[in-house]
């Protein structure tokens, strides 16, 4: 299958987010179960995940660029990205409303922060899945 750099980039982002931020959420779930209720305790784990994410994204994009022709993002890439972002942005909106509601009713900051982070992750994953769908199906 001949895949352009833009589509390879989407796959790199999708897999990196699934495995690295997915790994963070598994670790965070274990910490919650162990009774860790200070948000600051999660910060080092999150920082390591972000560094790993950046490293994997850079390495993945280097490999994607090395195996692709040097091409600019064209109008189809932009339309696919705009449409996917437009459709997936409501996930983030719902997450923000739910987080505000949770804060109002006095839910722990650990849950609020992770709820927001989860909404961001799901919104981004939704956007990337839609981009892959539009690349495969057409737009």
């Amino acid at each position: 299958m001949n895949i352009a750099f833009e589509e390879k980039s989407v796959w790199v982002q999708f897999l990196a987010l699934i495995f690295i931020l997915g790994g963070y959420f598994l670790t965070a779930a274990q910490m919650v179960r162990a009774g860790v209720d200070h948000l600051a305790a999660y910060a080092p784990v999150f920082a390591v995940s972000v560094v790993m994410l950046v490293v994997v994204l850079i390495a993945g994009h280097i490999v994607a660029a090395a195996t692709s022709r040097s091409e600019q993002r064209d109008e189809r890439d932009k339309i696919i990205a705009w449409r996917a972002e437009s459709l997936s942005s409501w996930v983030m909106g719902v997450g923000i409303i739910m987080a505000i509601t949770a804060m109002v009713v006095g839910v722990s900051s650990v849950w609020v922060a992770h709820g927001l982070l989860l909404a961001l992750l799901l919104s981004e994953l939704g956007c990337l899945m839609l981009r892959i769908f539009f690349y495969r199906r057409g737009i």
Partner: protein, 75 residues
């Protein structure tokens, strides 16, 4: 995955062969898009902008209505 068909047909593939067997990559380079976009346009999976459509006609040295044909809105 079912592929979406658009109500616009084109003869790009035939016209490329008529133009000394122009490759998809050569056409893509001439009109400033990726080869995957040319593939998607040829397969009827992407409707290009008016500007790109005119660039395609110019690159293939063919009148616009020989390159693209509108089939009408689906019933």
């Amino acid at each position: 995955m079912p592929r979406r068909k658009l109500p616009i047909e084109n003869n790009i593939r035939e016209l490329r062969f008529a133009a000394d067997g122009m490759t998809q990559q050569a056409l893509a380079d001439a009109i400033g898009v990726t080869r995957q976009t040319v593939i998607a346009i040829e397969a009827g999976r992407y409707s290009p902008s008016l500007e790109v459509a005119f660039r395609i006609a110019a690159a293939l040295d063919a009148p616009f209505d020989r390159v693209f044909r509108y089939l009408g809105a689906p019933a």
